[in-house]
Structures are given as structure tokens and as C-alpha cells.
């Protein structure tokens, strides 16, 4: 265990980083001490990845100082960071499976003799690095012969081969099973005891507590705080990750529509291997159902199964017109569902096309080829939504890629509203947009559901920000470890109890 009296090997202070339309990092600080495992925790979009990219030289910060052993460094490329001994192992193992273990470890810097690769030295070098980690395997065998966990270790060995002082592990355990995680941890503890500073990015609470000495929590692109793992309870950690309770008790309960109506979408035993344990869910007319939970808890997976974006392999869905499983999103759309993905860039926007085409796309896809609207109708419809949702764009002809994140999000919301869905699934609709836009969006969501005549839309609302979920939702379903962990109705929505359910020890299957 480290003490603060020691000199940090790596210290970041006041790091700022913006992208067009998005503030990714605001005044972020991070300290790493030699011989410690430091967990970097945070929800989706908290800024962990951006921070890692700043550290590894992939991004240059707009402001702020990075100090390595007290000296200021400014890595401009990943090679710079590597020269300084900052080594990174990414989530996806990016090695060459068809090359040997030794080749993978030494690739790029082979020991040479008379201008040729010195193979005995390559193999000896690979064995030496692996021995440091207490691993004994045949280094001449192709990497693909080994399990994912060994491949992960080889990736680490590769990173450690040349004078590593700081090892950054970006979600290294997400593809490993329990036994493999234990092996990895043994190796990491060993490396820590040898004096290496390890930055461990994860969203698994139990792994954090099993391994980390110190925890830095990030939220909304800011450093929430730095804590000793032993001083921070799970509940407190989750609280810091998902956000402090709202300042005032929301007044929404009074202005709420009367009791919501009949079920419009019912899922029974809906599940998918490796993604979600069978889940029961009932959505009533005119209600907002919030899905809360940490990253990887099954929130997004549940949303994707409800919409047919991924195929379910158990259970079935019931709507007014349909009973069974969706074979594609088209089925779900035909049954009146709509789904705004969390991944706006890859699963939402068609960047080169105009705002108008982007808004019209889902409606047009449902109508089919034959009945194309006239240009005037298209323009009128697009203009209507641009005005109603307050989308800031030069015109409906502007490519959507030129809009800010929040306005893109609104345009994608418009895409689905134009289909007049009965059920609207919103996965992280507030991610990466500014505070004002978030509030607008949440107001819009509530207004859609809570119609005076009780004929509002039914909405599934997902956010990494617990206050947002609590603020928006009539009922909240808490997910943990890819299964339902609790359902809270109106009047039972209490931040603390929800937090406790989110943070509880994982259920051992």
C-alpha cells in the first residue's frame, strides 16, 4: 500500500479536452504511485477512454500538465508515451494470432545479430518476460493455440518488455471468465509488488475491490475524487459513479398523469446467452420505465432485445398485434416500436445525409419504396420536427454530421417520433450533450408520455446518470449482472434503495 508521502510516478493535473460540440474532459486530475494498482472507475461517457488516450499520446489535451517522475512530458504520438515507459494494453487483444508467442512479444523490436533476427535471443527474451509474470508456456507455438487469458497475458508481456513504468489496462477482463480473471490478477499483483504502477480501467465493482489499492472516480468528464479502496464502501463508490441525488425533490410527482394504462409491451423470459438472463418486463401505456444499473448490467442488452436489434434466444414478447420474438428491427417497427441507440455515431446518424433525410428515414423505411412523399411533404415534416424539438441547424438540407451532438440526438429522436411509435426505447439519449440540452430532452420525454388524455407514448428510458432516470421515470427497473435486480413503482422511487440494489454483491449463479 502506498502513502501519499511518496512521489507519484505519473501525475496529471488540470487536463481539459474538447471535441466539436462535446466537452470530453474538464479539469481532470490523476495520480499514479509506483507499486500500486489504481482503478479508474466511471460510467459510460465519463471520460475514461478519453483520459487514457491523452495519456498514451493519441489525443493532445487542450490544457493541463502531465508529469512523469516530476518532469513534464507532452506525448504527441503513442510512440512518445511508450518511450516514456507508459504502456497500454487495450480491451481487445490486438496481437497476431498466427504468429508465435515470442514473435508477438518481440514484434517491432527484434533482437538482431549481423542484421538478421536472432531467433534464439527472441525466444529467450520472450521466456524472460513471461517468467517475470510467472508464466511458463511454449513461446514458439502460435498464439492462437492459447486461451484468451493467456493471450491477454502475452499482450501484457509485450507491453512490459521494454522498461515499462506505468501499465495501463483498459478493461482487460471484459472477455475473460472468472478463473482467467483470477490468473490475471495474480500476475498483476506480482507486477505491482515489483514496483510497477498499474492503472486498471474497469466497470466491475468486485474486481476493483479485489485488486485496487486506490480508486479515482470520473463522472461527466470530471474527476469526482480519488479514494483509498479500503476507505470507500461499494455504496459510496456507486453513488459517486452514478451521480449525487438531485438538489431538490422533483415536483414532477404532482404534475404526473393519472395511473398509467394497459400494458402495451410485455416481455416474458426474454434473454440472450452471454447478454441477458431471462427478463420479465411490462410496459404500460403512457409511462416512462427507467432502466438503471451500471455499465454491463444488461441495460443496453435488454433494450436491444426488446427492439430486435439483437435476436433473443429465449422468451417472447407480446404487443397488441404480435406475440413471439422479433426476427429483425423491422418487425418491431411494424409493431410500433422505436429505438434510439446509445451509439449515435455508429448506429444512428447517417452523417453525409441531410437532417431531413435523417429524420425521414425510419418513416420512409416503414412505408416502403412505393409511397414516397413529395418533396414539399418531406420538407414540411422535417421543418415541423426541427421547430418542435428546437433542432439548431442552418437548414433541413444541412448534413446531420455537421450538427452538434445534442442536435444530432434531437434529429434522431425526430426520426422515431415521425413514425408515431407506441413504444419508444431511448438508450442513453442524454450522453455527450450539454446540461441545457439534457434538460430539454428529459422534458420532451416526459411530455411525450404524460398526455392528459392518457394516450401518451410508452417510453423505456436508459441513462448512466441515476438522477436522470429517477427524474424521468414512473417506474424503475434495476439491472445487475445481466438480470433484473429490483423493480420500483411510483412512490417507492428512493435514491438510496436503488443505489443499494445497484451496488449489492453480485449474485453468484
Amino acid at each position: 500500500m502506498t502513502t501519499t508521502a511518496q512521489q507519484p510516478v505519473l501525475a496529471l493535473t488540470g487536463i481539459h479536452k474538447s471535441f466539436p460540440g462535446v466537452k470530453a474532459l474538464t479539469d481532470v486530475s490523476l495520480r499514479l504511485f509506483p507499486g500500486e494498482v489504481h482503478a479508474l472507475m466511471g460510467q459510460n461517457g465519463a471520460g475514461k477512454s478519453t483520459l487514457i488516450k491523452v495519456l498514451t499520446g493519441l489525443y493532445q489535451p487542450d490544457a493541463g500538465v502531465i508529469k512523469l517522475n516530476g518532469e513534464t512530458i507532452a506525448p504527441r504520438r503513442t510512440e512518445d508515451a511508450q518511450q516514456h515507459g507508459i504502456r497500454t494494453v487495450y480491451q481487445e487483444v490486438n496481437l497476431c494470432p498466427n504468429l508465435s508467442v515470442a514473435e508477438n512479444i518481440c514484434a517491432g523490436r527484434f533482437p538482431r545479430k549481423w542484421g538478421r533476427i536472432d531467433w534464439p535471443a527472441v525466444h529467450a527474451e520472450a521466456r524472460r518476460v513471461l517468467a517475470q509474470m510467472d508464466i511458463d508456456i511454449d513461446v514458439t507455438a502460435p498464439l492462437s493455440r492459447y486461451s484468451l487469458s493467456i493471450q491477454q497475458m502475452v499482450a501484457i508481456a509485450r507491453a512490459l518488455r521494454i522498461s515499462a513504468r506505468v501499465l495501463i489496462l483498459d478493461e482487460p477482463t471484459s472477455s475473460l471468465d472468472d478463473a482467467a480473471v483470477q490468473r490475471l490478477f495474480t500476475v498483476l499483483r506480482r507486477l505491482r509488488d515489483q514496483g510497477l504502477a498499474i492503472l486498471f480501467v474497469t466497470h466491475f465493482l468486485d474486481q476493483t475491490y479485489a485488486l485496487a489499492d486506490r480508486i479515482t472516480v470520473m463522472r461527466n468528464g470530471e474527476t469526482e475524487g480519488e479514494y483509498l479502496a479500503s476507505d470507500l464502501s461499494r455504496l459510496a463508490l456507486v453513488n459517486k459513479m452514478v451521480g449525487a441525488p438531485p438538489d431538490q425533490q422533483p415536483t414532477r410527482l404532482d404534475s404526473r398523469a393519472p395511473q398509467t394504462g394497459a400494458p402495451v409491451l410485455k416481455a416474458e423470459g426474454l434473454g440472450r446467452r452471454g447478454a441477458l438472463h431471462p427478463l420479465d418486463l411490462e410496459l404500460r401505456r403512457g409511462e416512462v420505465l427507467g432502466l438503471a444499473g451500471l455499465l454491463g448490467s444488461g441495460r443496453t442488452e435488454a433494450a436491444r432485445l426488446l427492439f430486435g436489434a439483437d435476436a433473443a434466444d429465449t422468451g417472447h414478447l407480446t404487443t397488441d398485434s404480435h406475440r413471439g420474438r422479433w426476427s429483425s428491427p423491422r418487425d418491431a417497427i411494424a409493431a410500433g416500436l422505436a429505438f434510439c441507440s446509445e451509439d449515435r455515431k455508429h448506429e444512428g446518424a447517417i452523417p453525409d445525409l441531410s437532417v431531413r433525410d435523417n429524420i425521414l428515414l425510419a418513416l420512409q423505411a416503414r412505408t416502403g419504396l412505393g409511397l414516397c412523399m413529395s418533396h414539399e411533404q418531406q420538407q414540411a415534416l422535417a421543418d415541423d420536427y426541427i421547430q418542435r424539438l428546437g433542432i439548431k441547424t442552418a437548414s433541413a438540407d444541412t448534413p446531420i454530421g455537421q450538427l452538434s451532438g445534442g442536435n444530432q440526438q434531437k434529429a434522431l429522436l425526430a426520426r422515431w417520433l415521425a413514425t408515431e411509435p407506441a413504444v419508444l426505447i431511448l438508450d442513453e439519449p442524454t450522453r455527450g450533450i450539454d446540461v441545457r440540452a439534457k434538460e430539454d430532452l428529459m422534458d420532451a420525454v416526459r411530455a411525450l408520455a404524460h398526455k392528459a388524455d392518457g394516450a401518451g407514448m410508452s417510453i423505456v428510458f436508459i441513462s448512466s446518470e441515476l438522477p436522470e432516470v429517477l427524474h424521468c421515470s414512473d417506474r424503475v427497473l434495476v439491472l445487475r449482472d445481466r438480470r433484473a435486480a429490483g423493480l420500483y413503482g411510483r412512490g417507492e422511487l428512493d435514491e438510496r434503495s436503488v443505489l443499494e440494489v445497484i451496488a449489492a454483491e453480485p449474485v453468484t449463479a
Binding site: A309, S328, R330, S341, E347, I350, L360, L369
Partner: protein, 338 residues
């Protein structure tokens, strides 16, 4: 977006001209105009047009006529490329369609021959579409299969011989006939191009094709039938190639399984590129591709007219293509600005 500013004599009034220059068709048109200008200066009588026996003759008409098969192929290629795909089997389909038509036209009549040729092209398109959309093969690999096998198939049908057609004379009308004083081939291109443009503008097909090309994942989540769209463009491309094959064999009054439409796919890809289409898919311009096809044919015709030895022709072609492509590259315009 970052179009380089045109070198202007009056920097005070750049708006109209520089706006026009930013139009996607501006550069292909400028390239075509430059080439035509060059040809007009160097080739005697290039611009000369005359009416003989009620038919319009001249180099310009000749270029249009000769470019017709390429324009048909380029129209199909435009849509395929818009979906991020590519179809390298165009030349092979040309050979198959031409061969089928020439085999049948003497014995079964014109209607049967045309229908069978287009039917064969349709089958080729279904095959390509199936491999790409249903089996998920990489487009270049999927269509490479037909590219390699197609010509062989055509040669099997003709026993490796060149099939010459002597009658009916009506067969020669499509590729060599005249209508209202102009080559029939021009009307075919105009009708196919017009129908395609109508299909793209008046239905949502154009929107869907672009969507699939730009972001297939988002397209699927928005409910677009991505597989059907991909399937369609390959079928359409093959049908265009089949029509081009009919035109070529009708023009040369024979089926040459070895050489008909040889490398036509490469010229078609080039035409799309010259017309401003991006191989990465997305936005497309049918008019741009037609202009691209005309650029290629003007170039070929001019080089021949100048008496450049055939061995050098390809090099000259490559140089011009290189210049046009460079002028359209975004890296070049950023570099020029800097």
C-alpha cells in the same frame, strides 16, 4: 466542404462562380470540356457534324455512340459502389449476354434472343446479389467468381468460336441502327438513365441506397431492408451489363466471348470515380458517372485520332485519369490550401 478556391481574377466577387465550382458535377464537366477543347484543337474536323442520308455524323456523335455500353455499365456500377460494393463481373456478363443473344437470334427470333440474353444477365445479377447480401461475401470476391467463370461459360456456349450473326437484320438495329437521325444506342442510354433517375428521385430507393452505403448498421436499425437493397443493386448492375452486351454484339454483329466487354468493369469503376463517386460508398451521382464515361470515351477516341501508337494509349489514359483523380482528392485540396 473544403473545396479549394478557384484562382480568380476578381477576388471581390467569388460567390457565384465558386459556388458553381463546388457543385459536385463541376469538376467532371470541366475535365470533359478541357478534353473536348484539346481534341477540337488537335484533331482536324473534330467538331464537324454533317447530315448524311438523314443521319447525323461526326466525331462527337461517334463518341456518344461508342460510350453507350460503358454508360449503361457505369449506371449500374454507380449504384453498386454507392452501397460500398463493387462488381467486377460486368465484362463477363457482357460476354454472356452477347453470346446468348447471338446463339438464339438466328433460330428463335429476335424477341426470344433478347429475352434470353437479359434473362441470363438477370441470373448473373441474382447470383452476385445472393453471394453478397445473403452469404455476406466481400463484393470484390463474390463478383470475381463470375468475372472468372463468366467468360469461360460464354466460351463453352460458343465452343470457343466467334459467333457471327447474319440475320435477322433487326438484331443490328440496337447497336448500329438510327432513330430520328441519331444512333439508337443513345436513346437506350437516355431511357435507362431517365428511368433510373426517376426511380431514385421518385421513390425512396436512392435514400435507402445511400443510407446502406454510409451506415449499414444504422440503416438496419431504422428498418431499412439492407439485404434487399444490396441484392437489388447487383441485379440492376448485371441487367445494365446485359443490355450493354446486347448493344456490343449487335454493333459488331457477332459474339466474341473472349474480347467483348473486356475490362469494361474497370472502365465503369473509373467512370464512377471520375464522376465524383467515392468507392467508400454513400452519395452518388448518375449524371456524374455518365460524364465520367464520356471522359473515358473522348480520351480513347482522341488518342486514336491523333495516331498515338496503341501501346502508348493506356499510358496516356492513365496520366489523364491520374490528373482528374488527383484534382478531386481531398488531401490535394487541403495541401493546396496550406
Amino acid at each position: 466542404m473544403n473545396a479549394p478556391s478557384l484562382t480568380m481574377s476578381t477576388p471581390s466577387a467569388p460567390s457565384a462562380l465558386s459556388r458553381a465550382w463546388r457543385h459536385p458535377l463541376a469538376r467532371p464537366l470541366a475535365a470533359l470540356a478541357l478534353l473536348l477543347g484539346f481534341a477540337a484543337f488537335t484533331v482536324p474536323g473534330f467538331l464537324h457534324l454533317e447530315i448524311k442520308d438523314g443521319h447525323l455524323y461526326g466525331s462527337l456523335v461517334d463518341i456518344l455512340h461508342r460510350a453507350a455500353p460503358l454508360m449503361l455499365a457505369a449506371l449500374g456500377m454507380t449504384l453498386v459502389i454507392a452501397t460500398r460494393g463493387i462488381d467486377v463481373s460486368v465484362g463477363a456478363v457482357v460476354a454472356i449476354a452477347g453470346t446468348v443473344a447471338c446463339l438464339l437470334v438466328g433460330s428463335h427470333g429476335l424477341a426470344v434472343a433478347l429475352a434470353a440474353a437479359l434473362g441470363a444477365a438477370l441470373l448473373c445479377g441474382l447470383w452476385n446479389g445472393l453471394l453478397v447480401s445473403a452469404l455476406g461475401l466481400q463484393p470484390i470476391i463474390a463478383t470475381l467468381i463470375l468475372m472468372v467463370a463468366g467468360r469461360g461459360l460464354a466460351q463453352l456456349l460458343t465452343d470457343g468460336q466467334i459467333l457471327t450473326v447474319y440475320e435477322p437484320a433487326s438484331f443490328f438495329w440496337l447497336g448500329g441502327g438510327w432513330l430520328l437521325g441519331l444512333p439508337v444506342s443513345l436513346f437506350v442510354v437516355a431511357v435507362v438513365g431517365g428511368l433510373t433517375a426517376l426511380l431514385m428521385k421518385r421513390t425512396a430507393l436512392g435514400l435507402f441506397i445511400q443510407t446502406v452505403g454510409i451506415n449499414p448498421v444504422a440503416a438496419r436499425l431504422a428498418g431499412v431492408r439492407t439485404a434487399a437493397i444490396v441484392f437489388f443493386v447487383y441485379v440492376y448492375c448485371s441487367l445494365g451489363a446485359g443490355l450493354a452486351g446486347l448493344m456490343i454484339s449487335s454493333n459488331i454483329k457477332s459474339a466474341d466471348a473472349n474480347n467483348a466487354g473486356l475490362l469494361l468493369e474497370l472502365d465503369a469503376i473509373l467512370a464512377v470515380t471520375l464522376g465524383g463517386g467515392q468507392l467508400s460508398g454513400g452519395k452518388f451521382s448518375l449524371a456524374g458517372s455518365l460524364i465520367g464515361a464520356l471522359i473515358i470515351q473522348t480520351l480513347t477516341s482522341t488518342i486514336y485520332a491523333l495516331g498515338v501508337p496503341p501501346q502508348v494509349t493506356m499510358v496516356v489514359k492513365a496520366v489523364v485519369v491520374f490528373a482528374v483523380c488527383i484534382s478531386q482528392s481531398s488531401a490535394w485540396s487541403t495541401w493546396r490550401k496550406a
